[in-house]
């Protein structure tokens, strides 16, 4: 799941061990510590492993020149998530091809459980692709990143009411697609 991780600090430099508060070391440590969770988020936002990788690298490249300031924030992850979302929206608008390109999901094994899981993931991936960008972002941020409505609104640059509306509509669609019972958003 999407949780904050402790950053690794300290690395080797020509003058010996570089202090952990060196911004460059800090950034590399941040990338190493955060890449897995952010790669997952990028995948949920793009539906494609190659696009996810590109989105994540582009986001880190946006963050890098500003790291000296962002590293002082309480939640650098929130800044990176906003960058990722902004880049995703920007690319989506810029490119005429707005189709959700779905990867073939990797085969995780031959057991019925695994096969069922893959089928459900494939269905979810397709259902996510059917959602408008804002609904997808709202659902992923609220229900996978565990962000509150206010936090999600800050990342998406909209009101909590818009988040609630987008989340509700997006969830309803996903539940229908997955055959899950309809329910209230918690």
């Amino acid at each position: 799941m999407y949780q904050d991780m402790d950053m690794q600090t300290g690395a080797l430099g020509p003058l010996g061990r570089i202090a952990a508060d060196d911004p460059l070391v800090d950034f590399e440590a941040y990338v190493r510590a955060s890449q897995t969770k952010h790669k997952r988020l990028a995948f949920l936002l793009t539906g494609n492993l190659h696009a996810a990788e590109d989105l994540l690298q582009a986001a880190y490249a946006k963050l890098y020149p500003r790291w000296d300031k962002v590293r002082t924030y309480d939640a650098p992850d929130a800044y990176l998530r906003k960058v990722m979302l902004s880049l995703r929206t920007s690319l989506w608008r810029r490119h005429k091809n707005r189709e959700w390109s779905v990867d073939e999901l990797p085969d995780l094994g031959g057991s019925p459980d695994h096969a069922g899981g893959i089928a459900q993931s494939q269905a979810l991936l397709k259902a996510l692709g059917d959602l408008p960008e804002r609904q997808r972002a709202a659902v992923v941020l609220r229900h996978w990143c565990d962000q509150s409505e206010a936090e999600t609104a800050a990342i998406m640059g909209c009101s909590p009411g818009t988040v609630k509306s987008n989340t509700s509509k997006g969830l309803a669609h996903l539940r229908r697609a997955l055959g899950q019972p309809e329910g209230e958003e918690s």
């Binding site: 799941m1 999407y2 690395a11 080797l12 430099g13 020509p14 003058l15 010996g16 061990r17 570089i18 060196d22 460059l24 070391v25 590399e28 440590a29 990338v31 890449q35 897995t36 790669k39 997952r40 988020l41 995948f43 949920l44 492993l49 996810a52 990788e53 690298q57 880190y60 490249a61 890098y64 020149p65 929206t89 920007s90 608008r93 999901l105 990797p106 459900q120 993931s121 979810l124 991936l125 408008p132 804002r134 992923v140 229900h143 996978w144 509150s148 800050a154 998406m156 640059g157 909209c158 009101s159 818009t162 509306s165 509509k169 969830l171 996903l174 997955l178 899950q180 329910g183 918690s186």
Partner: protein
């Protein structure tokens, strides 16, 4: 949301997200740095042209004050209408910060299920120099006649402490446009509110400074590493302010950042060379300069065969440590060393090769000597 109350959709999302773990990336930093450099180069092309225009306009290079935008509000429509106020400033020559306030009186929308949706901007789009930099896409509602009239006041971004941050090509005038369509009794009014803001070139920043005799006259000189102005792109520069008043400078090689210039007498002639370390962490490079006549000379670095050998270190995570030579600057000068074990536990034995500065060239020696790297990663000669 606690795990007890978490929506069941979470587990399905989490299972799907976990599939991204199989697509393993190597060391991300080289590609990140490449992307940053590419962006800088792209912007620099614009900076050159725009900087020339700024100078031609007589503004000079030292005017730092950002310019607040003038407001060009959209006109109201009948007794229904909306005013859009754009606050835009250019803290740096390549970046604008924009806030938008929208006040209006208009009619409610009709939702997909026929319900009334409160009046306000249907969407909001911020465009800088013709490119969309931020947006809040339209809700799925329609503008029908006869909707309830109400007043509203919204800001974008919602928090006054936040701004839309828009990269721009460089110093010069930039056009900011905002579209925030609203519903006026069945008519969707889609006006553009526009303003201009001028960004200007700032001043370079001294990032690090050392004092030592670097020209051999027995008097202390000042050596500085200078970066472009905050927010600017361009070369980092090594500057030597000599005691006799001469100022020498030389652009540093292309890398992300450069640190403290460290004066070291690497060839034992009594005059310090200037050692500058760039990059950081597991990927860095060093450059050595000598005061040579009226300039700063970059010392070539060669291997034992006389071929160029960068004084740099970078290795992918997971590489066995008995494969790649690492480099460290110790009292005796630059040393390359390689652990004898693939996964050593420090203190650990290493093979050491010296870098020797002679006749203005730093050369990596072929011969190896035994050395030891201690728990603090300090290299010394001799067995552990």
């Amino acid at each position: 949301m606690s795990s007890e109350h978490r929506d069941p959709i979470f587990d399905t999302l989490d299972q799907l997200a976990g599939l991204a773990d199989g697509d393993v990336a190597g060391d991300r930093m080289p590609d990140i740095r490449r992307r940053v450099r590419a962006t800088r180069r792209k912007r620099m092309a614009g900076v050159g042209v725009a900087a020339a225009a700024v100078v031609a306009a007589g503004l000079g290079l030292s005017q730092l004050l950002p310019e607040a935008a003038e407001i060009d509000p959209a006109p109201p429509v009948g007794d229904l209408g909306q005013n859009v106020t754009i606050t835009a400033e250019a803290p740096y020559s390549d970046q604008l910060r924009i806030q938008v306030a929208v006040e209006g009186r208009s009619t409610a929308y009709t939702g997909a299920d026929g319900e009334s949706v409160a009046a306000g901007p249907l969407s909001l789009e911020v465009v800088v120099d013709g490119e969309v930099v931020d947006e809040s896409p339209a809700a799925e509602v329609s503008c029908e006649p006869g909707g309830e009239v109400s007043t509203y006041s919204v800001t974008y971004p919602e928090s006054s402490r936040r701004s839309v941050v828009a990269p721009v090509s460089g110093p010069g005038k930039h056009v900011v446009e905002v579209r925030a369509p609203y519903c006026a009794d069945g008519e969707l009014v889609d006006e553009v509110t526009r303003t201009t803001v001028t960004s200007r070139v700032g001043e370079p920043v001294v990032q690090a400074e050392s004092v030592a005799d670097v020209d051999g006259d027995g008097r202390p000189d000042t050596v500085q590493v200078v970066s472009p102005a905050v927010g600017e792109q361009g070369d980092w520069i090594l500057v030597a302010q000599l005691a006799d008043g001469a100022i020498l400078s030389e652009p540093l090689p292309d890398t992300s950042e450069w640190g403290l210039p460290e004066p070291r007498d690497l060839d034992g002639d009594g005059t310090a060379e200037i050692v500058v370390i760039g990059g950081g962490g597991e990927s860095w490079s060093a450059a050595i300069y000598q005061v040579d006549g009226a300039g700063l000379r970059l010392v070539p670095t060669l291997n034992e065969s006389g071929q160029d050998e960068p004084l740099a270190y970078g290795v992918s995570e997971g590489t066995p440590q008995n494969v790649t030579f690492q480099i460290q600057l110790i009292d005796e000068g630059f040393m390359s060393f390689r652990f004898l074990d693939a996964a050593p536990t420090r203190p650990a034995a290493v093979d050491v090769r010296r870098w020797v500065l002679a006749d203005g060239t730093l050369t990596l020696q072929d011969a190896t000597e035994p050395g030891c790297v201690d728990a603090d990663f300090q290299l010394t000669f001799g067995a552990c």
